[in-house]
């Protein structure tokens, strides 16, 4: 009897975020008839797709017992780079040089920029042993400053219909951003569950010293992980820019907090080594549904923040209680 109970218990723990989400949806739909509609469903999913991309990258970083505070700024810089290259290309008047960018070229450049910014994070963390919190805090400021420099503080707008398709279009009856986040999720699940890289990510987060002695190249794995987080921020940046048809210099402000919240609500341990991508995805959906529901219920934006904070706290308290019972 005892063992059956504990078996159920472990299943219950596994599905906790899912149960929370279902309860949340039932609760909101009882209070608002606008919630459970197809339009609103797509709306929510479109909104959360950016956070999902960032949170997935954040999950990988957190699993190695690191953290990436720079995701919001990197998102803004990469969005601006993509928009700027698409609209203006690279122009050097003194040399009479002009390089134009196709849509694909501009997007690629944005993604490469993201990976390089992430790589820089990984480099400072591994080479100079700067604590991830500090290294990425510095990058948060640096990337924001670079965004301001690049955009001169003004939005870059009117980027053309084909670019707008990424953020606002539909493909096979599903919004394009949802497709993008789905692809990101699938790749991330495969990486964490089926590749040596994923194995090493968990091992490093679980015990870095033992991983090193087992012949794992810690620096390499960490640099890859921070680069992936950078690329995924860039993906988010391109989607945001496309949806607004404009690269805002202050885009992505405090997005790192939503991403960390999704990771934490999804059950990933901030000390590393424990957690799943699907947990984070659920966490991101919970935050998205909560945001949407609170708006539909006409809750004031001030109260929204209070509620969101409370939910994060509750999630961690439950997680701690589970860990203790383990």
């Amino acid at each position: 009897m005892d063992t059956i109970l504990s078996k159920y218990r472990s299943h219950l723990v596994k599905f906790q975020p899912l149960i929370a989400l279902v309860l949340l949806c039932i609760g909101i739909s009882l209070m608002s008839d606008k919630f459970m509609t197809v339009d609103n469903g797509w709306n929510v999913m479109r909104q959360i797709s950016v956070n999902i991309c960032i949170s997935v990258g954040m999950t990988l970083v957190v699993l190695t017992s690191g953290i990436d505070l720079s995701v919001g700024s990197v998102l803004a810089l990469c969005g601006a780079i993509t928009a700027g290259l698409l609209k203006f290309g690279i122009e050097v008047p003194s040399n009479n040089l002009f390089v134009g960018f196709t849509l694909l070229g501009a997007i690629l450049a944005g993604l490469i920029a993201g990976s390089l910014l992430g790589l820089f994070n990984g480099w400072t963390v591994t080479k100079f042993k700067v604590p991830p919190f500090v290294a990425t805090l510095a990058m948060l400021t640096i990337a924001r400053g670079l965004t301001m420099l690049y955009t001169k503080g003004f939005p870059i707008s009117n980027l053309g219909d084909s670019f707008a398709y990424i953020g606002t279009g539909w493909f096979l009856g599903i919004p394009v951003p949802v497709w993008v986040s789905a692809v990101v999720i699938v790749i991330a699940v495969i990486i964490t569950q089926k590749t040596a890289l994923g194995r090493y990510i968990y091992a490093i987060g679980g015990n870095e010293s033992a991983s090193k002695l087992s012949g794992i190249n810690i620096s390499k794995i960490k640099m890859i992980v921070y680069s992936i987080a950078g690329v995924l921020s860039a993906v988010g940046g391109i989607m945001v820019t496309s949806r607004l048809d404009s690269a805002q210099p202050n885009a992505g402000m405090s997005y790192e907090l939503d991403a960390i919240a999704a990771v934490v609500i999804g059950g990933t341990s901030l000390s590393g080594g424990r957690g799943t991508i699907m947990g984070t995805v659920l966490g991101a959906i919970i935050i998205g549904v909560l945001n949407n529901g609170l708006v539909l219920l006409n809750v004031s934006p001030f109260w929204q923040q209070v509620v969101k904070g409370g939910v994060i706290l509750l999630a961690v308290i439950i997680d701690r209680a589970n860990a203790k019972n383990d």
């Binding site: 504990s6 040596a196 194995r199 679980g206 015990n207 002695l213 087992s214 012949g215």
Partner: protein, 501 residues
């Protein structure tokens, strides 16, 4: 003084303790003896208030008590000194002693002088000659242990439980500890002493209680007991005889190390390792003995490529000259290390057995880039069987295994890389006698299969029993080498004592 009656404890359905009865009289040292997993720690945690859910009764001074938390037990006069010390490293001795019960003056501020005086009195009593404001981190482990004992005395503890108190301290510190225990006994304290080192128990304990599989097997007076009889009670069967040293040795040199030096990081001072030269043959077990700080662990680490920038050496492995700049390279070339501290350096405790075993050899399972989980699982199953790892499944979390089984998982991880040279750093530290014998047998079998084995140990009997050849280290260099036939405890120890002091 303290007694347990019919104590039982279950963890999620698994019985850890079953009908335990014991008595701890005042003025006596009681040794609790048992293999890993016999239930010693669980029992101590119940007595000291860590667990408050259990069957049966705890009697303290004749009254039934049930401590809700360690603090309650402490206030009542029961102190436990854990294997891992519970001190705040960056506070000083006095601050640690009074942590949570600071003395305050009339204004409510800390009365530092009173605390210092009281600390100094205690330290004097315990013969620890350091100032009361010494930072814990600057103390040796043995001295930290004395501070823990001081803490127990400060609380006026009447029952003092010591869990493996000598596992990390030197010979001379052990003597100091014995002296202190003797004094405490005279003061009529009840002392519980848990140790794997049976020889210690004969020196220090008055009574013994043997636990096996969560039950009390026997208790009685230590006087008149013999070593073998105790072991017999612990394991419930006689132990196998250790290695017969008649295994055939090949004369082929497998590893040749010449002029190995390891510099100290960031300083131009003396090298940590100085001009180390030795050869290891195929199928040979080379024992390396040395006292703490002789450089044994550093030598193993250097051979695994962990100190690339600081190393100078000529190493020839299997007739090929090699130079390792990372553990990754060394492992690929055929080196493997079972590290000294398996929990810190050997295992990812939160992951399962299979994952830990394949940690160094995952490349074998990724033909198309994705891990072949089935092949990985099969391989893990093979090692679990071959090394007799006691577990219900390959997917058991390593954290839940006993010390001996954890050590086997580390061994399996190393073997999975198909090494040519297997380095073992204190391979039997903190594991029970049965598991030790199994590990010895495995080591001999591996040597017989052609591996070259380097075994570092600070236990002389172990080195003498299983090595073919013995090197002695002191002060970062090799001071002697013996064929096992010529080696005696005396001449090994003589070579191990550093000349510089």
């Amino acid at each position: 003084m303290l007694a347990a009656q019919h104590i039982g404890k279950k963890f999620s359905g698994v019985t850890a303790l079953d009908d335990i009865n014991l008595e701890l009289p005042a003025g006596k040292v009681t040794a609790i003896i048992g293999e890993n997993g016999a239930g010693k720690s669980t029992l101590m945690k119940i007595l000291s208030g860590v667990y408050d859910e259990y069957e049966g009764d705890v009697l303290y001074k004749g009254e039934k008590v049930r401590f809700k938390n360690p603090r309650e037990a402490q206030n009542a006069g029961i102190a436990i000194i854990h294997q891992e010390l519970n001190l705040v490293p960056y506070l000083n001795i006095a601050e640690n002693l009074f942590l949570g019960r600071e003395l305050k003056n009339a204004l409510g501020f800390l009365d530092k002088k009173a605390m210092r005086l009281k600390t100094e009195a205690l330290l004097k009593k315990l013969k620890l000659t350091v100032p009361a404001d010494t930072i814990i981190a600057d103390l040796k482990v043995g001295q930290q242990q004395v501070v823990e004992i001081a803490k127990a005395l400060l609380y006026d503890a009447e029952v003092i439980i010591m869990d493996e108190p000598t596992s990390a301290i030197s010979e001379s510190e052990v003597e100091v500890l014995y002296g202190i225990i003797g004094d405490l006994r005279k003061e009529n304290k009840a002392i519980v002493y848990i140790s794997h080192k049976l020889n210690e128990l004969f020196k220090i304990a008055d009574l013994y209680v043997v636990l096996r599989d969560g039950k009390t097997i026997e208790s009685g007076a230590m006087k008149g007991m013999t070593h073998d009889a105790l072991i017999h009670k612990m394991v419930g069967r006689d132990i196998d005889i250790i290695r017969s040293s008649d295994t055939k040795k090949e004369k082929k040199v497998l590893l040749k190390v010449d002029g190995l030096c390891l510099a100290k990081a960031g300083s131009k001072g003396k090298n940590i390792l100085q001009n180390i030269c030795f050869e290891l043959h195929r199928g040979e077990i080379l024992g390396i003995f040395g006292l703490m700080g002789a450089g044994r662990t550093e030598l193993m680490e250097t051979l695994l490529g962990l100190h690339p920038g600081l190393t100078k050496a000529t190493i020839v492995l299997d007739d090929t000259s090699v130079k390792f700049s990372s553990a990754t390279q060394a492992i690929k070339a055929g080196m493997a290390l079972v590290p000294e501290d398996r929990k810190k350096d050997g295992l990812v405790l939160g992951l399962d057995i299979k994952t830990n075993i394949s940690l160094s050899s995952i490349d074998q399972y990724k033909g198309s880039g994705l891990i072949d989980h089935k092949a990985e699982l099969e391989k893990a199953g093979k090692y679990i069987k071959a090394l007799k790892i006691k577990t219900t499944s390959e997917k058991q979390t390593v954290k839940n295994l006993s010390g001996g089984n954890q050590q086997k998982v580390v061994l399996a991880k190393c073997l999975a890389t198909k090494p040519k040279v297997l380095m073992l750093d204190e391979p039997t530290r903190g594991i029970d006698i049965n598991a030790k014998n199994e590990i010895y047998k495995l080591i001999s079998e591996l040597a017989a299969s052609g591996l070259g084995i380097i075994m570092v140990s600070s236990e002389l009997p172990e080195i003498l029993a299983i090595s073919d050849r013995i090197l002695v280290m002191a002060d970062g260099t090799i001071t002697a080498g013996f064929e096992v036939a010529d080696a005696t405890e005396d001449n090994i120890l003589k070579a191990a004592i550093p000349q510089s002091i």
